[in-house]
């Protein structure tokens, strides 16, 4: 008999659908603790390269950024390639001064919807988020414009 299957099916036929239409009707599922794109506090980072050392995906390199950073005399900061990053959060965990934090921006938000820019600029977050990842060019301009603040973090 296939009756048990049919009876159960009727129950689900009249119940609300479980799926959500993303991104048309609702946003992707998020929690407070989702590990997403990084933010670097350049006023804390001492340039020790620990984040680079622990990154299992080897997607961090250290770049020199001109500016006034008294705690970081060599002016070396991590640059993260988000097209390689696995969002494991080890860099955040092992940073001795808590300069790196993670936002909740993940998945398709890290990419633009236009095909041209998806692959060329994977490092740039969607404009609407108003946050910028720790690429060399982007974070310098973001700091200048005040886009990154110390509060823009979720998990430290």
């Amino acid at each position: 008999m296939v009756l048990p299957t049919l009876i159960k099916s009727v129950k689900y036929l009249v119940s609300k659908p479980y799926t959500r239409i993303v991104p048309r009707k609702s946003q992707p599922f998020k929690t407070e603790s989702i590990r997403g794109a990084h933010v670097l506090d350049m006023l804390k980072c001492v340039g020790c390269s620990m984040c680079q050392q622990v990154c299992p995906a080897a997607c961090i390199d250290m770049v020199v950024v001109e500016g006034e950073y008294p705690q970081n005399p060599k002016k070396r900061f991590p640059r993260i390639d988000h097209s390689k990053c696995t969002f494991c959060g080890l860099c955040v965990e092992y940073c001795p001064v808590g300069a790196l934090t993670m936002t909740t921006a993940t998945g398709y938000e890290l990419f633009t919807t236009s095909k041209d820019s998806t692959f060329k600029e994977p490092l740039k977050l969607k404009e609407a988020l108003g946050k910028v990842t720790v690429t060399k060019d982007l974070f310098t301009s973001a700091y200048a414009q005040g886009v990154i603040t110390k509060e823009s973090s979720s998990r430290g």
């Binding site: 048990p4 299957t5 159960k8 099916s9 929690t31 590990r35 696995t86 998990r155």
Partner: protein
């Protein structure tokens, strides 16, 4: 085997009936499969070697990558093995939480399996309810660990993140939700006459056969052998909870399904008991040094697919000297498939059903 007399067919890796990144070369006589040759290597990444080239803390993110369906057991096994090298004792709280994590992983894996087995006989509707239940577990994981699939939650030394505030209520809510859905799927599949007709008597393995082929896990238990590491060689706090080990007798595809559905209920019961044991506020982690002492670490866990073992040799320093993984799907995809085809009349329509009933995780072969 001369190719001329038989029709040769490639099954997978994109075939919807193939269980993942794997292919089979099938020799067909009419619609009967007379020989199957497994073609591995679609996910060859050399996990063991990669782990030997990475530091202890990095390897957490490597340890689980070869089984998407059930990464938690692999992660926990790695953490246990490294703690064995460090001779570290982790907090009780972390042990209970690891058990919750492991059982949630097992339930999610079995629910996902019911999607495959349902799909293989054309019963896709109940399969979707199972996926919804699994989704609820993935969201639970996202809440406590920050990721849905690869959690990075159990690290050597304990648990990485503090628990969210309403952890207990949230966990019990998920358990209740999943329990209801799992029962619906179970009723809809196991009591369906088409399902029974397709699976009964298919892919039969006796207890001795299963043992001699090297099978562990639900497939072995469905053949009547009561062997479960959680009982036979308890790790974490499995000796402090009460649960049954479901055992079948017939050893066919249907019995395997019955055993898995019963295991879901048992796992949910273990989660309920473990949640009660958690002490909020007590520590979850001890910090281990960056350099490990020289020595060897071994861990064996009962994963959703059977026994998984990891053996790590350390010569001191920041990296392991040698990592050896003993996977759970190797016998299922090699010796068992060969044996079943040689023993019984397997048609091309039954082949995906047998594969789904074994529930292998093909990237295992490529570790």
């Amino acid at each position: 085997m001369g190719d001329r007399e038989y029709q040769v067919l490639y099954f997978g890796p994109q075939h919807p009936g193939a269980p993942g990144n794997i292919a089979f070369k099938l020799w067909l006589d009419g619609d009967r499969v007379v020989k199957a040759e497994v073609i591995p290597g679609f996910l060859h990444r050399g996990f063991e070697k990669m782990m030997e080239n990475r530091t202890w803390e990095m390897n957490v993110t490597m340890s689980y990558r070869f089984c998407v369906e059930d990464p938690d057991h692999l992660e926990i096994a790695y953490a246990l093995a490294v703690e064995d090298i460090y001779r570290a004792e982790i907090p009780e709280n972390a042990k209970w939480l690891r058990m919750i994590q492991a059982e949630m992983g097992r339930v999610a894996s079995h629910l996902f399996w019911s999607h495959f087995i349902g799909g293989s006989v054309g019963l896709r509707t109940p399969a979707y309810w199972a996926v919804a239940a699994r989704e609820e577990i993935l969201k639970w994981f996202a809440r406590i660990s920050g990721h849905r699939i690869y959690h990075n939650l159990s690290v050597p030394g304990g648990i990485r993140y503090a628990l969210p505030e309403n952890f207990k209520e949230e966990t019990l809510r998920v358990v209740n939700f999943v329990e209801e859905k799992a029962r619906d799927v179970e009723d809809a599949l196991l009591r369906n006459s088409i399902f029974k007709a397709r699976l009964r008597g298919l892919g039969k393995l006796s207890g001795e056969e299963a043992l001699s082929l090297g099978v562990t896990g639900p497939v072995l238990r469905a053949s009547g052998v009561k062997y479960d590491l959680r009982v036979n060689a308890p790790y974490l706090n499995y000796d402090k909870v009460r649960f049954e080990v479901p055992v079948g007798s017939a050893g066919d595809a249907y019995e395997r399904s019955v055993v898995r559905f019963k295991e879901i209920q048992q796992s949910l019961s273990i989660i309920r008991q473990s949640v009660e044991e958690l002490r909020p506020g007590e520590p979850l982690r001890v910090k281990l040094g960056l350099s490990a002492p020289a020595g060897e670490g071994v861990a064996r866990v009962e994963s959703a697919r059977g026994e998984y073992m990891i053996h790590i040799i350390s010569q001191g320093g920041r990296r392991p000297y040698r990592v050896r993984l003993k996977s759970m799907s190797m016998p299922l995809l090699t010796t068992v498939v060969d044996y079943l085809i040689s023993k019984e009349e397997v048609t091309i329509a039954d082949f995906p059903v047998i594969l789904a009933s074994l529930d292998p995780c093909p990237p295992d072969l490529d570790r």
